[in-house]
């Protein structure tokens, strides 16, 4: 089937006869057919190449490339086919307004009224219908119950961490730390002993420089401060420390917290300081927590300031 059959004959131009034009068109189509054939051949070769690549162990780049050539060639072949061999064709289809004809609407309305009449006429049947609706709604509500099973409600988890009175401060390996292990500007990710890797108890210990005045909210050990490592913005670990300016930086949305000022927010979108862990030194000379964090760690939530009621 070729487009030339369908196209309206054009008037000869430039002295060319219709027969000439027809012959030219034929030639053009033959040439296109040849190119399309070449494309499909390329696709066959590329597909076979993909087989070879795959069987001989596979290699991501070559797989991608052969797939690209295979599908690309099929696409080119098809494009030539539709553009040149089939050629453009225009058809016109009627369109009607989307709204149904009035007669149809009326007919349906009548049908609806009469059939619904059978169900609802008379007080009792209407009464039944209402109850059925009620039953449906109640059942819908009951079906929500399984969703509640997906998780426990929050009790005091958001207010508590694994830190507590006398809990030792340990590093990522679980080794307890002494104040003399810490040098100024040193940063260590710390955990409560027995909970290394804990998501909500992670904290960052910073060695303070002697010459910088501090303004801290919690009791701490000389030259050392420990803050929750969870950003109060959206919970990313506050992973970077810029010692020169004494700032902890959260890489997620670039909130910065002043280490010497009780982790006050210096810039960025975080809404409150990182909670500070009150610490002291125990009898054996290790760093321990005096208590849990005094305010909830991590991103804020609605009843943050109300406490857990405990």
């Amino acid at each position: 089937m070729a487009a030339s059959d369908r196209r309206p004959p054009r008037t000869p131009a430039g002295g060319r006869t219709k027969a000439d034009q027809w012959r030219e068109q034929r030639k053009r189509e033959d040439r296109a057919a040849r190119w399309a054939a070449v494309s499909f051949l390329v696709a066959i070769v590329a597909s076979l190449a993909l087989f070879v690549v795959y069987i001989s162990g596979g290699q991501a780049q070559l797989e991608g490339l052969t797939l690209f050539i295979a599908f690309g060639a099929v696409g080119v072949g098809l494009a030539i086919w539709v553009r040149v061999i089939v050629g453009p064709e225009e058809i016109v289809e009627d369109r009607y307004p989307m709204r149904s004809e009035d007669a149809d609407r009326d007919a349906f309305e009548e049908l609806y009224q009469s059939t619904m009449g059978e169900v609802t006429v008379g007080g009792r049947r209407r009464f039944l219908l209402r109850l059925l609706t009620g039953a449906g709604l109640s059942l819908g509500l009951a079906l929500l119950i399984p969703i509640r099973s997906l998780g426990p409600g929050p009790r005091n988890e958001l207010f508590r961490t694994e830190w507590g009175e006398g809990v030792r401060v340990v590093d990522e390996e679980g080794e307890p730390l002494r104040p003399e292990d810490i040098s100024p500007d040193q940063v260590v990710t710390v955990f409560p002993e027995g909970a290394t890797g804990s998501a909500d108890s992670q904290a960052v210990l910073v060695g303070l420089r002697k010459d910088v005045p501090t303004d801290l909210r919690q009791p701490t050990v000389e030259g050392i401060v420990v803050y929750s490592k969870i950003c109060t913005h959206a919970g990313c670990p506050v992973g970077l420390y810029r010692a020169a300016v004494g700032e902890l930086l959260c890489p997620c949305h670039q909130s910065t917290f002043g280490v010497y000022d009780g982790a006050e927010v210096l810039s960025g979108p975080a809404g409150r300081p990182l909670p500070q862990l009150p610490i002291e030194v125990d009898r054996e000379g290790y760093l321990v927590a005096i208590s849990d964090f005094r305010v909830p760690v991590g991103p804020s939530f609605w009843n943050l300031t109300r406490g857990d009621g405990a």
């Binding site: 539709v82 016109v92 709204r99 919970g235 809404g271 009843n303």
Partner: protein, 459 residues
């Protein structure tokens, strides 16, 4: 192809067709759609690219699902990737590494899948812009616009859940931020967060849940709604650019067979080809470089997939307003993370009604497309809105911007804060003026030709 029609040959296909028709009475209906008219314009093909990307996603995704293990239990890695050998990693991350390094064809499938997801959302976005600026959403197509907006939301959801599955350092970070934003919703936030994760972050069964969402619920929703989108399209027929021939009561275009069928097949092949090339040659999401997820580690600079960029930008730019009124704390993530995106999607979804009620005041049925200049107010708002999204998208990379220029991060953020408000307003206003100018010029020209002494036999 020869121009001379060979006498009809019998092929097995004919027999199958007859067999089916004997049982399903197909000839009549098929005849009607065989020559359905498709207005030929390149911009009509963008939606098809989205559709084809979805097909690629479904196929590659099925392959990946055979190998992926949604389990956070720790295993010792003993695969070929040397830097991680002997390290304890989650079974999920382990399966992702196996898929990438040991399963033949696995890496290319994974990368094609990821690229296809990016192209999918991009194609939906461009398609939406086309529909918006040509007024193709007007009555009777409001419904399909809404279906499209929901499809975009589902695509976002599918992208986010998929991004979180490998359990690498970046995916964990995305999840952490998502949970934190949920947590900040007044009254119900903590409950929603706990229900979503099965407890306090990181929860008990996150990956299992994300997995079921990603491979079952979201694809089911996508397939169902794409079906509805196409069914409504067929029912209402295509819009078209007005011309001498094309009017409000017809459809002028190429027939479904052979022209549109071959064109679409060619486009399908090209889409797969491009995705295969991207997936084969351009590394994407190399999770082994990020390493396994550890709640106390983070990868900087952390960048989400592109379509999340505008949300990220909003979170970054929003000032740190956090206050407590009567014991109720409003976190600084609530407005940029929940309310603003919700508002944006509501306005976009309700646009057909907003447009008809306040801008065009036109509630009639339309099948002819408009040009942006035909409705300057819509064009101005659309351009302004788009530039706004674009600028918060750029803000999502403020750290990258800052590290690539001499300017400090805070200066950049300050500039961006002002810029995201001023620039969209300005460009939107300019777009409005240009559209209005073009429209007025045209109207003047039309008046001039009409008032010239009538020379033709028009009257």
């Amino acid at each position: 192809m020869s121009t001379t029609d060979e006498s009809r040959r019998q092929s097995p296909l004919d027999d199958v067709a007859r067999w089916l028709d004997d049982r399903l009475r197909l000839a009549e209906g098929t005849q009607r759609y065989w020559r359905k008219a498709f207005p030929a314009h390149w911009s009509f093909l963008i939606g098809e690219v989205a559709l084809f990307s979805l097909v690629v996603l479904l196929f590659t995704g099925t392959f990946l699902a055979f190998f992926y293990v949604p389990d956070t239990r720790l295993v010792v890695y003993d695969g070929p990737y040397v830097p991680l050998q002997g390290q304890e990693i989650s079974a999920a991350f382990d399966s992702t590494l196996r898929l990438s390094f040991e399963v033949r064809g696995g890496l290319v499938m994974r990368q094609i899948h990821h690229w296809a997801a990016l192209v999918f959302v991009a194609a939906i976005t461009v398609h939406m812009l086309r529909v918006f600026f040509t007024g193709a959403f007007r009555r009777p197509r409001e419904l399909n616009w809404v279906v499209g907006v929901i499809l975009l939301l589902l695509a976002f959801g599918a992208g986010f859940t998929g991004y979180s599955l490998p359990d690498d350092l970046l995916s964990g970070t995305g999840l952490r931020i998502g949970y934190s934003v949920l947590l900040g919703i007044p009254f119900v936030g903590p409950l929603i967060g706990f229900i979503a994760l099965g407890g306090e972050y990181p929860g008990t069964d996150v990956l299992g849940r994300l997995h079921i969402l990603h491979v079952m619920l979201l694809p089911a929703g996508l397939i169902g709604l794409v079906g509805a989108h196409l069914a409504i399209l067929v029912r209402q027929k295509h819009t078209q650019k007005p011309s001498k021939k094309a009017t409000n009561t017809n459809v002028v275009g190429e027939p479904l067979f052979p022209n549109q069928t071959l064109t679409s097949l060619a486009l399908f092949a090209f889409t797969i080809a491009v995705l295969a090339m991207l997936g084969g040659l351009f590394e994407i999401n190399p999770v082994w470089l990020y390493g396994p997820y550890e709640p106390f580690q983070v990868f900087a600079p952390a960048q989400p997939d592109w379509y999340m960029g505008w949300l990220e930008g909003l979170l970054r730019l929003w000032p740190n307003w956090e206050f407590t009124i009567l014991g109720l704390t409003i976190p600084s993530t609530l407005l940029p993370g929940v309310i603003l995106p919700g508002l944006i999607f509501t306005v976009v979804g309700a646009w057909p009604w907003i447009d008809a009620r306040w801008i065009t005041k036109d509630h009639e049925e339309h099948h002819l497309l408009q040009r942006p200049r035909d409705v300057p107010v819509r064009t101005g708002i659309g351009v302004g809105g788009f530039v706004f999204l674009l600028s918060i998208f750029i803000a999502g990379g403020n750290d990258v911007l800052a590290s690539n220029t001499a300017t400090g991060l805070q200066t950049i953020s300050a500039i961006l804060r002002v810029g995201t408000i001023v620039v969209p307003l300005l460009i939107g206003w300019i777009a409005y003026r240009i559209a209005k100018g073009l429209k007025e010029n045209e109207a003047a020209a039309a008046r001039a030709t009409r008032s010239e002494p009538a020379s033709g036999a028009q009257q």
